[in-house]
Each structure stands twice: as C-alpha cells, then as structure tokens.
Amino acid sequence: MSRAIIEVENVSKRYKLGQFNARTLRDEAEQFFRRLRRKNKAVGVPHALAESSEFWALKDVSFSVQRGEVLGIIGRNGAGKSTLLKILSRVTEPTSGEIRIRGRVASLLEVGTGFHPELTGRENIYLNGTILGMTKAEVKAKFEEIVAFAEIGKFLDTPVKRYSSGMYVRLAFAVAAHLEPEILIVDEVLAVGDAEFQKRCLRRMREVSGKDGRTVLFVSHNLAAIEALTHRAVLLRDGAIQFLGPTRACLETYLQGTADRRARVSSRLTEGRYTRVLSVDVLDEGGLPTCNYSSDNPLVLEVAIQTDGVKGMSFDIYISNSLGHRVYFYTSNLFDEIDIPASRGCYQFRLTFRPLMLASGNYSVDVATALTNIGYDDHVVEAATFQVHYFNPTGRSWDFRELDGYGSVAMTLDATVLMDRTEGGKGEELERRRRIGSELRI
C-alpha cells in the first residue's frame, strides 16, 4: 500500500476560554489594576480562574487517510469536527502534534466564502477560484463547466448582488466543486439549495472521489449522506476519537451513544411546583419495563406522578427521534379529558397507545405535567428511552431505518385502495390484504 495521503499524529488543540473575545485596551487596563489591588489586599476572589481555564477542542487525535478514500467525520456539536477541519485546512494551528499532507488541500467550508457582491459572476468565479487555491489558468480551463453546473447562463456578467440566493449558492458550489485539489474538505455544504441541487452535489462528490480519484473528508449531520458517500468514518467525541472504522459501524456507535447519553441525562427542563414526574417506563407484553418496542404493536407506558392536590393538572407526552425531533404527541386533558386527581398523593398511570409506526432507531419519551391551558409544571426531558430494532409495516425484509433519512414514521395504507383510470370512467375498487397478499392485484 502506498503512503497515506494524510497522516494525523497526536494532534491537540487548546483554546483559552478567557481569550475568545477581542479585548479592548480598557479591559486590559481594568484587569491590570484589579491585579494590583488584589496584590495589595492579598485577598479576593480567584478571578484569574476564568482566564486560565482551558478547553481542549481536540485531544491526541491520530488517524490516516489513503489516497482516493472518502472519509466521513461525525460527532455531536462541539465534538471537535470543525476544529479538526480548520487545522487540516491551515486556518488555525494545532497546539501540539503534527499532520503530514501529501497533496494540495482545498476546503469547502461554507459556500460563497469570498464572493464580492459588486463583482460579476464571471469575476467572482475567478476570484473565488483563486481564493480556494486554484491558479487563474486552472479556473479558465474549468470555466465552461462551472458556468454550466451553476446554470447562471445569461447572468454571467451581472454583479452577484443581484442574484437570487439560489443562484448565489449554485455558483458558489459550482466553483468549489470544480476545484482540482488532491484533497477536498467538505463541511455541511449539502445543507443548502433545493432537493434537486443537493442531488447533483452528491453526484458531483461521488465523481470527485470515484472517477477523479481524489481524497475527500466529508463532515455532515446528514447521516444518510455520510452513509451513502463514505466507507470509513471517524466518530469524534469531546475532542477525541471514539470510533474509527467502517461507516455503518461508526454510525451505529454514534446513535448508540446518543441513546446511552439520553438514558443518563434525563433532565428537568422546568422543576414542578405542584407536581413531580417520578418515573416513566416502557412496558413489554408481560408488563415489565423494557427498552425495546416493536412498531405496529400497542405501546404501553407507565407514568408515576406525585401531586400536591392542585386542581386542573394534566400531563403531556412527547416521543422524539434520535435527532431530538418530536414525532408523536399526546396530551391527556385536551385529547381524552384525563386529569391528575386533585388530592395529594402519588398516582401511576398505565397508558396503552394504539400502534405506532416508528422506523427502526432510537427514541426518547418526554413527560410534562401541565396546568391545563396555562403552562408546564414539571417537565422531564428523556424520561425514558426505547429502541426499535427493525420495522417494515408489511413485514417484508427491507428495514425502514430512521438512519437512512426517510423519516421516522411509516405511512400505512388503509385496507382499501381506490384507483381511477383516466379513461374508462368508473373507479375500480381494489382490495389489499395486509401482510398476506404481497402485490396489488388489478
């Protein structure tokens, strides 16, 4: 095997928390005098604590990337992804460690970086291209391709400040996507543009890595895109590498971590004054607490609530997916006119919900007590978590996974499907037997 194109060795990066903001001379002077005063009195609060506190954005990170490989980088916000990319693209320096890069690097950190609104599309293509590290001749060679990809055609000689935001983004991505470095660093660029454009971006990225044989480092929160584009991925957590290996395994570790974290940090958004949610459990068929749920079966929740006996208290339940988006909602009073009894004590509710159609993945349950129509009293986030291992509403072998980016809830057909033919007049009624017949019969 040839030498790795990128070798990262024990790279660490420290930020001094006190230095994040640019200071003014006045601040500096103030600090100076405060220090003097403290020396004289020889007492005082340890003010210096705030200044000296450090934060390691990266700790001893090592990995290497082979030529032509597409490496995904994932992790929660603040895990150190951006810092790593900034160091790799030489925007900032590591505090210690070393990186060897055997090729030219171009980074695509945010589209439109360095565009000048007064300049025309044509001028900006050249300016942006050279900012991103191309020579003028290289931009010229790619010029037609860039214009075609961006679809700006007749607006080529219009100042970009007159562009629609869509055109702006397309042009910016077009320039960046046609860079010809050996190593391309891509950070969240797919978050912009319409669906059609995103598809084209993905295709272009695949070309860059596949056909042109370039090395790509790809950071995204779009796990589906990571899985589609990369074979190997790095999972960063609190500045260190938590996992490095095949993308699928990496994503699973990541999602597992999300679930673990949730189980641990069930926390209160607001503390209850009159009531308190004591426990929330998902129950299995035998009535025992579980952390698994199979979709399309009744969901049984057991919620224990303590109350002072205040009148008009009810409770709400949310189910959220692994990204924290709420997918299901239940409110006891407004849906079912169920209230928490108005006398002091602990109450346990066993709630059996109609089958949920959740994609396989990790979910959490939030429970809040509410003074109906007024506001939440006790609000517990991630009071319980559960996992759906596999789901397909018709029981087929294809697993509907949340991770794939299709969403969290499956739509299922009613027993009857009506189909109209454009010619022929009357609609024909078709029957579809769930889980028995596998094809629609016409």
Partner: protein, 286 residues
C-alpha cells in the same frame, strides 16, 4: 491529474520559530494577489457617478482646500513655489502612503470571516492594497504633471521652479513608501486584531501624522534645532524629496535619508513579524 509532484509534502505543526515568513506561498498565490487588486479597483468606484475620476479629483479638491486654508488664510510659506503645485506634489507621496496604510490596517478584522474558513497567505491582502494604490499614484502623478506644465508655460512663476535630475529616483522612492506603509499597516492590523480600539485610532494616527510630515509646509520652515525631530518621522524625507524632484526646492540631506530608510526597514521587518505572529492564531479569538 495531480498538479504537484507526488513527493509534495506539507507538514502542519505548531510554529516554533520566531520569524516564519513563507514567501514561496505568497508567490504561489500570485494570481489571487492580482485578482484582489482588480477587485479593489473595480469595487471601489462601483455605484459612484464619477468612477475612477475620483482618483484625480480627490487630490485636486484637497489641494484647493489647503490652498485656501494654509496658504491664503494661515499664510504658511511654500518655498516660493506656487501653492497649488507645492501641495499637489506633497500629496502625491502622502496620499499613496495614507491610502495604503488605511486599507492594509484593517486586513485581519475586515477579512476575519474569510480567514476563518480558507487558508491562503494572509500577506496577500495587504500586498494587494500596496499594488492597487499604485494605480491611483499613477493617475495622481499624471495630474501633477499636467498642473506642473500649466504653471510652467502659462504663469509668470514658470521660471522659478523646475525638475531636479533626482526625479529618476522616483520609482525607488515609491518602493520605500510602499514598504513603510506596509510595515505600519501590518502593525496596525495586528494591533486592531487584538484591541479593537485601533479601528478608531487609525484614522486619527493618519491625520496627525500628516501634519507631522512636511506636506503643507516645507521642511525649511522648521528651525535647525528641531529638524532632527522632524526627520525621525520616516515619511518626512520621502515627501520632502518628491517636492524637491518636481520643483527643485527642499531640504534633502543624505543623513536624514539614512534615518528614514533605517526606520522603514525596522518598521517593515517588525511589522511582518508581528502580523505573522498574530495571524497564526487570530481566528481563534475573533
């Protein structure tokens, strides 16, 4: 299709040396340098009615103001040269210096968001200011020559002044002014990145500096006793010399010049050093 030899290797590690100037990198980004010059030039006068004519009008208007205030009202002598010509010649070098200083001093802060995302040698940006201001220098020079010719041919004072042969050194003098403005600009840029107070100070510094420089008065007006203080200002000699080149009057002494050149070198080298130092980690603090 690799553009660099396969043995190309870049090592990223914390900088340890004191003076780490990567000129090879600046050279690699020369296309960017010239596109930035182009950008400065185009963007500056977009949406103005007079466009690049401002390059000529601005010094002419300033000369007019100076003539009214300093010559007519304050009656400050101009070495026996027509005041208009005197001020215009004085402004030629000064304007170049002030404009370059102004635009290079906010390099880091004005481009913070760009620098936070892409790497390119940061020095390219102030260098582009140095180059793009050469165009306004050229236009201003042309203006000066026209005014000079007018006074020579059409006025009675035509016989009282003339070119000095030293004028052949003008390009070299421009290089010195460029180096000086770059040096001071880099200093201010680095200081502004650290202390935002300098955004306000820069304009003031430039204004005060102009009055400390023999732009509106001849160096000969300053008594011998205090002249050493005046020439400690590294801009004093270049401005006085440009006037000498065009009208043949002025106090130009080699020793003074040596001071000016030494100061220029000192400011340039230290400016590059400070800028480099701050530039390395400055994106972490904005």
């Amino acid at each position: 299709m690799p553009h660099v030899a396969s043995d190309y290797e870049l090592v990223i590690r914390p900088t340890r040396g004191w003076f780490h100037l990567n000129l090879a990198d600046v050279w690699r980004y020369r296309d960017l340098l010239f596109l930035l010059v182009h950008r400065d030039f185009v963007a500056k006068y977009k949406q103005t009615i007079l466009g690049p004519a401002w390059f000529i009008l601005q010094p002419l208007l300033m000369t007019f103001v100076f003539t009214v205030i300093f010559s007519k009202v304050a009656k400050i002598p101009t070495d026996g040269v027509p005041p208009v010509l005197f001020y215009l010649a004085g402004l030629l070098g000064w304007n170049y210096f002030a404009q370059t200083l102004q635009s290079s001093s906010d390099t880091l802060v004005a481009n913070a968001s760009l620098f936070g995302k892409v790497y390119f040698p940061r020095l390219v940006v102030p260098l582009s200011a140095v180059i793009s201001n050469c165009f306004s220098f050229a236009l201003q020079l042309a203006t000066l020559l026209c005014v000079w010719a007018y006074f020579k041919v059409f006025t009675s004072s035509g016989a009282t002044f003339g070119f000095s042969s030293a004028i052949v050194w003008l390009p070299l003098l421009l290089v010195q002014i460029a180096g000086l403005s770059l040096g001071v600009g880099l200093w201010l840029s680095a200081m502004t990145a650290k202390y935002r107070d300098f955004t306000f100070l820069t304009a003031l510094i430039i204004q005060v500096w102009m009055y400390a420089t023999p732009v509106i008065y001849p160096l000969s007006q300053i008594s011998e006793k205090w002249r050493w203080l005046a020439v400690l200002n590294p801009m004093a000699m270049p401005v006085e010399t440009i006037k000498y080149m065009f009208v043949g009057r002025g106090v130009v002494i080699a020793a003074y010049f040596a001071v000016s050149v030494a100061m220029t070198l000192l400011l340039l080298v230290s400016g590059v050093f400070v800028f480099n130092k701050v530039e390395k980690t400055f994106v972490d603090t904005v």
